[in-house]
Amino acid sequence: MAALGGGSGGQWRQGWLPVLQLIRHGSKAVTRHWKAMHFQRQKLMAVTEYLAPKPPIPEQCLPPKKQIVEEDDGYVRLLRRQVAEAFRDNRMIVVCQYNPMANEDMLLMRHYLRKHNIEVKFFLNEIVRPVLSQSKYKNLLPLFVGRNIVLVSPETKAKEMLRVLRSVPQINLLGACIDDTILSKKGVENFAKLPSLEASQGQTVGALALLPSQTCSLLQRGSVRLTALLDEYIRQLQAGAEVTPGSPGGNPAKPVPSQSSEAH
């Protein structure tokens, strides 16, 4: 049903209304449901849609632009500082592979390691990698791939640590950096088998002190041997004198000086 719109001479005024306006179906302009548009209006909406500008060469033909958006977050900076501190302050740094395990087991393991003053730290790879690449620990970079944890300690108690880790099958040792020396798994095991510092120090001191202790006996060897031989001679004389008490005292004396001259 059409309605007539505009009064006389309406077309020549500012806001004119068209002569005919379509009003069908009693529903009002604002409805709760999506009001069905007239087909002509639908066509108009389809024709006047937004067309995005196309670049002359489509993006698929060009090499992809890698946009590295580096927002210098305070949080990221804090984490990096923590990583640098951990690497600086501790003598022993061990990187292990972390497989998911029960919380209780994790807690127990942390407790045992804490007893030996070893801390378990979780660091994000994307934060650790730039920190390490700029420090002297460049060779540890291939270890920080995938899920891992870091055990840090100011002391080097490798034996106790290995014992604890052996009891936990989900944590596998990948590599370690002890006293600025990078060790593999075998290296850590060998390091653990080594005697403690005090024992090895004592061993070295003992080995070094062995030669000087022998010098004294070396110098005295000649005179000691002479003394021993003379004592032997005297004993033999005394033994000869006891065996033949009746014989003249001068007879055994003759062969004896020839023996002593042979001995010289």
Binding site: V30, K35, Q40, L44, M45, T48, P53, G74, Y75
Partner: protein
């Protein structure tokens, strides 16, 4: 990520908290209830909003992306959810819509048509698209505030979104850019103002103002 450093950072200096930081309680019925029953006047839902489109006190808010009516239940939901999720010592929230003022009549159930207009049932507030409903501010970041504002926005009777000053400005700039770099030579505005092909026979005089972006109470975001 930065809002996680809340404990390490000093509070923002350019923000002053008002006395009452929580949202004011809105009455169901205005102090002077209306005696005269009013016509429906659905044009208070239609089209873009002219008031409360920009931020005043706060930095984050909920933007209405469609028209609708908010009744007392909605107000309570917003007030309680925001009151529960925000920290009254560091954040504040402010209403940008008035209390319900428009009377809505309802006829009693089960009666036939006729017998005059029904009595006033409840009051509502009309909200047009592009209007801010609530504003939140204080020593907080968008990341902290976004998730509960979005939860509230989902429950409103019209489509809404959580915005901050930056995101709102970004949206407006994007719209402007789209309008300028549109490759289609035929725009709705051009067709309507020139009455090309006699299109105005099928369109309303309001379409001169709305330019194809509004249809009833709906706001068509994807259109230019």
């Amino acid at each position: 990520m930065c809002w996680r450093l809340r404990r390490f950072l000093a509070p923002r200096e350019d923000v002053t908290l008002p006395e009452r930081t929580k949202l004011k309680f809105m009455d169901k019925v205005p102090a002077v209830p209306k005696v005269r029953r009013e016509p429906r006047r659905l044009r208070d839902i239609r089209g873009p909003s002219r008031e409360a489109t920009e931020f005043t006190q706060g930095q984050y808010g909920i933007l209405a992306l469609g028209g609708g009516y908010l009744h007392w239940g909605h107000f309570e939901m917003i007030r309680l959810t925001i009151g529960r999720c925000m920290d009254p010592k560091t954040m504040f929230a402010v209403w940008r819509v008035p209390a319900p003022y428009k009377p809505i009549t309802r006829k009693s159930l089960g009666h036939r048509m006729g017998g005059g207009k029904g009595p006033i049932d409840h009051y509502v507030t009309a909200v047009k698209s592009g209007r801010l409903v609530v504003e939140v501010g204080g020593h907080c970041e968008f990341g902290e505030v976004k998730h509960f504002l979005e939860r509230v926005a989902r429950k409103l009777p019209f489509p809404a979104a959580a915005v901050s000053r930056n995101t709102l400005q970004h949206m407006q700039e994007e719209e402007e850019e789209k309008r300028l770099n549109n490759q289609n030579p035929w725009t709705f505005e051009r067709v309507v103002t020139g009455n090309m092909l006699g299109m105005r026979k099928y369109l309303s005089p309001y379409d001169l103002r709305f330019k194809g972006r509004y249809w009833g109470k709906f706001f068509l975001k994807h259109r230019v």
